[in-house]
Symmetry: C2
Subunit: 307 residues, 2 copies
């Protein structure tokens, strides 16, 4: 088993969907990534920052799941990053109602010494310079995975391009892939992104699943068709956490094993959306995950004869 | 091998896409269904109507491919059904610029005697009463597959519901499934449609593939990610033709074989959109189809260990 470094936000979210609303609950990219990665018992460390207002009980959730939190800085006189958002009726789009960076504004990540030789690095959505700083603290990792979003394309494109040139895998949603490359076809967009550096491109299409590109090959992981999507918050990060957790756990970074990793990520993401925030991930058994993976097999595997 | 009856339009289309435009070319639901079904050498008959203006060369295209055309009525003093449409830049939506029903207005389908005992019936998009008339001419077929569209939901819902109650499989696109059931979730919509009669529901999602529902099971056939969609006209009918052709050819109407059939349909549809109208289907080799099916395997098959 390889080690895994996760950098990203640990935050408070306040969420409103057609089904209800929450007060400040546990959220943040590194939170979802870490909880997902811990499902496959990955040996992971969370590198992030919170304020003195962040409950110790939340930190214990990571510790209980075997995640190293020595790189989770606590700024006692600071406030934790806060995001408030509201989903539209179709659940495919949302409005950000508030973003308070707080302690994130001056975050300088420190990767714990014993995790600097990790094989896998998961760069959750954050300022590209913070992501770059993590890369530079690592000793020659096997696999660096980047997640980012349109905000950084709009505001810090040059820095983002530097990060993109340094990573092996990028996970990005379809609209962002189109924005980054100015190409409508996702096949063409993925090829252009591979020319920027990453050998692997994962394009996330929400309820329409995710595509894994490598050279001229494409693999498709569907999203599980659900009766109801309760809260999409964190689904993309959960996917990334399942993906990198699976790769770190198996220590196999081949294209064939990445297919399994995107299926694993898609399976965990399908749980995430069933409840508000992290609630479902925090109450998830290994048996349920196994059953869900079986559902993905049933959903996709066929046996046509190529005569 | 079982026999297959196909009813639907045989028509002239005039198409405009961002890549160019055509004059009147060969089109129509039964045309695409028939050409697709003939790829797997299905023993099929086309039941439709054309005017005296319809070129004999077009009819020969069916005959050369082994399709029976004795149920293709020619109204010598009538004009063939004509449709003119223009696609928007994203290729996912289109405007109908002209629809001239012509000979279709008084079409009364006659299933050739020797095809009345066919196992499989494919009801292409047409007035529900015409579809019903075909059902009533058949001797106890194994499988009746219905394709329809929102136009009939808007204008002839009662008649459409009668047809739906009589078929085994319905193919319908996602927005139409939502319209028919007033349910946003496709899982819930499919369940409601199954309560209307069909044991199997295929929901087509265009570039996002197709879902096959049966009881509590779901199978997902992706669309092949393409560099470019040249002309989507006929893709849904090509899918239906590949689906029913494959089932008739294999004579196996089990859920497991339907998985293969939706993959086969999706593979043929992925060719259809590469050129205007029927052009690509008319120049398609068995080897190309085999290679495309292999691409679908590579796209979807994985080998995760369920520990």
């Amino acid at each position: 088993m390889s080690k895994l470094v996760i950098v990203g936000t640990v935050a408070f979210d306040a969420i409103e969907t057609p089904f209800g609303k929450t007060d400040k609950i546990l959220g943040g990219a590194a939170t979802f990534i870490g909880l997902a990665a811990s499902q496959c018992d990955a040996d992971g460390a969370i590198v992030s920052v919170v304020g003195g207002d962040f409950p110790k009980d939340y930190i214990n959730l990571f510790v209980q799941r075997g995640m190293d939190v020595s790189g989770l800085e606590i700024v006692e006189d600071g406030k934790t990053f806060f995001w408030r958002g509201k989903y539209h009726n179709d659940m495919n789009s949302r409005d950000t109602l508030a973003t308070e960076l707080n302690v994130l504004e001056s975050f300088s990540p420190v990767v714990p010494e014993k995790f600097r030789n990790s094989d896998v690095v998961m760069l959750g959505n954050l300022h590209p310079m913070v992501q770059l700083s993590v890369i530079e603290q690592m000793n020659n990792p096997e696999l660096i995975v980047l997640d980012t979003m349109n905000f950084w394309m709009d505001n810090t494109l040059a820095e983002l391009m530097r990060v993109i040139s340094r990573v092996n895998v990028i996970t990005i949603n379809d609209e962002e892939a189109r924005q980054l490359t100015r190409e409508y076809s996702l096949v063409v967009a993925a090829r252009k992104i591979m020319e920027m550096g990453p050998k692997y491109v994962v394009i996330k299409k929400g309820e329409h699943g995710a595509l894994l590109f490598h050279k001229n090959e494409i693999f498709y992981a569907p999203a599980l068709p659900l009766e109801e999507v309760f809260d999409p918050t964190g689904a993309g990060d959960t996917f990334a956490g399942g993906f990198t957790g699976y790769l770190a756990k198996t220590g196999d970074y081949s294209y064939d094993n990445m297919k399994n990793a995107v299926i694993y990520g898609a399976a965990l993401a399908s749980f995430c959306v069933e409840k508000f925030g992290t609630e479902r991930l925090l109450n998830l058994t290994a048996k349920e995950v196994r059953q869900r993976l079986k559902q993905f097999q049933d959903l996709t595997q066929f046996d046509i004869e190529l005569t």
